[in-house]
Symmetry: C2
Subunit: 286 residues, 2 copies
């Protein structure tokens, strides 16, 4: 039996975050990580990397975030591995948020949404990431398509890298910074989707110094994916400074600081719990 | 025999543009276009679409621009078709510029560059498109990798859609608009690469009213990919208004207005020549 509209990503995330933890594991099989794990830089190495993490995670994670680029590197066969890994995590009840940072216009964005969202699509993920250099308006239909499929489109608002600041802090004709304007637009897309659905999420880099608190407030109730924890500046202890009062909207995300514990499954398990425990504590305002 | 460094994209484009024409054909097998051509919305339909255009083009084109999203829609098998089509055009001496608009940071961008550029990479294209919401600085290494492989990274400066204007015209701390700052940064990347190499190109939407002429000047000698001709506002007769004095840097690009002539190969041939003739005339300042 299927229900329509399907439960939203936000609803599904909140339930899993309460049961498991809000922590999101980044699957980043870069050339360097494969080498550190003594895996060959091949489709087989890519596949083994993913299986070790899926073995370590079991049914413990709410969300995983595969980085598409590291699968695309291996060509079409790498994307077959991605499809298989997505199925493994889905079978474990884990949500898949594909980090693809697509950003285009019109029928091109429709095609990306069709490749990502919904039964019968190539990847059928629960969420994906997008960028707005061509304007947030160009992503409005993508957010609608995400909503239709119970998925979420996470749009980069503030990134964790220093090179992102000049553009994201530039001031538009309305007197708002680019990040503020994107945050406002994102909130409007969520308002339009109806109460509690939140088909538009925000990527908010969790680095120090803290991003403008004002941008966080402008997002309203949107979920915030916060990459960079543990290795790009901010630690779990910094999260309250960044997001106090918005704890239940935050998806703390890390890859490198977990992957460094590999390749042994037992060590990865331990590293995952070392990230999940403080994520739970932060969520509970502890 | 291979030479190192390999001839740059700019050198190869200029030669082909003189011999053939500067026109770039967009390969946009959207669901709508497949339907209009009476092709099924399947991998086979996608493949037939591409073969018809390759048949029509023969050895007449300098550059083709496949839109990745329309291949990604069909999953890994769609990308196998893309690989095959890229080989067909390469065999005809045509340069391939893959429209992927990737935009991320650090090792993720390295992985995208590794999937796109160089012998042994998944797609081995001559050029690809990128976006800079996460900062132009985050794309600097991508431009270096493109240069190393004799390829070109085309970065969106001004897009042809109205939704792009507020962000691209926002003003940074240096008093420059985002588009001006990206144009300046792009010129610096080209200066660093040495005389005549131009590994960084610009995507400049060819729509009316004309983009700020100042942005064009800031780009220096960079190549400019100008999508949107024929269907998004500007026609060939508008090109001199937009790019006078920079004719040899312009790659006039269109998809829809050619594809509308399909699916018959003879009609497509005629439509291609109807785009190539005015592209040549514009390039020659006629």
């Amino acid at each position: 039996m299927t229900t329509f509209p399907p439960p939203s990503f936000a609803q599904r995330f909140q339930k899993l975050a309460d049961e498991r933890s809000p922590f999101c594991l980044g699957l980043d099989p870069s050339r360097d990580v494969l080498a550190r794990w003594n895996l060959p830089d091949t489709v087989q190495g890519l596949s083994d990397f993913c299986d070790r993490l899926a073995d370590a995670a079991g049914e413990s994670l709410a969300v995983v975030k595969p980085q598409s680029a590291f699968f695309e590197r291996h060509g079409p066969e790498g994307l077959v591995v991605l499809q298989r890994v997505l199925k493994r995590f889905r079978a474990a009840g884990t949500l898949a948020l594909l980090d693809v940072k697509r950003g285009d216009i019109g029928s091109t964005m429709d095609a990306y949404a069709e490749s990502l969202f919904g039964k019968g699509s190539a990847y059928d993920v629960d969420a994906a990431t997008f960028t707005a250099y061509l304007g947030l308006g160009a992503l409005a239909k993508t957010v609608e398509l995400a909503r239709y499929h119970g998925a979420c489109a996470f749009i980069v608002v503030r990134s964790s890298n220093p090179e992102g600041a000049p553009l994201q802090n530039a001031v538009g004709g309305d007197g708002l910074t680019v990040a503020q304007a994107v945050a406002d637009g994102l909130r409007k897309l969520n308002d339009k989707a109806g109460r509690g659905v939140f088909p538009a999420g925000a990527v908010m880099g969790a680095t120090l110094p803290p991003v403008d608190r004002d941008v966080v407030e402008r997002l309203g109730g949107a979920l915030m994916l916060t990459p960079g924890i543990g290795s790009q500046g901010a630690g779990f202890s910094d999260l309250p400074k960044l997001f106090a009062g918005r704890e239940r909207q935050v998806i703390p995300t890390a890859a490198r600081s977990v992957l460094e514990a590999g390749p042994e499954v037992a060590a990865l398990k331990k590293a995952l719990e070392a990230h999940q425990a403080p994520s739970r504590a932060f969520r509970e305002g502890a």
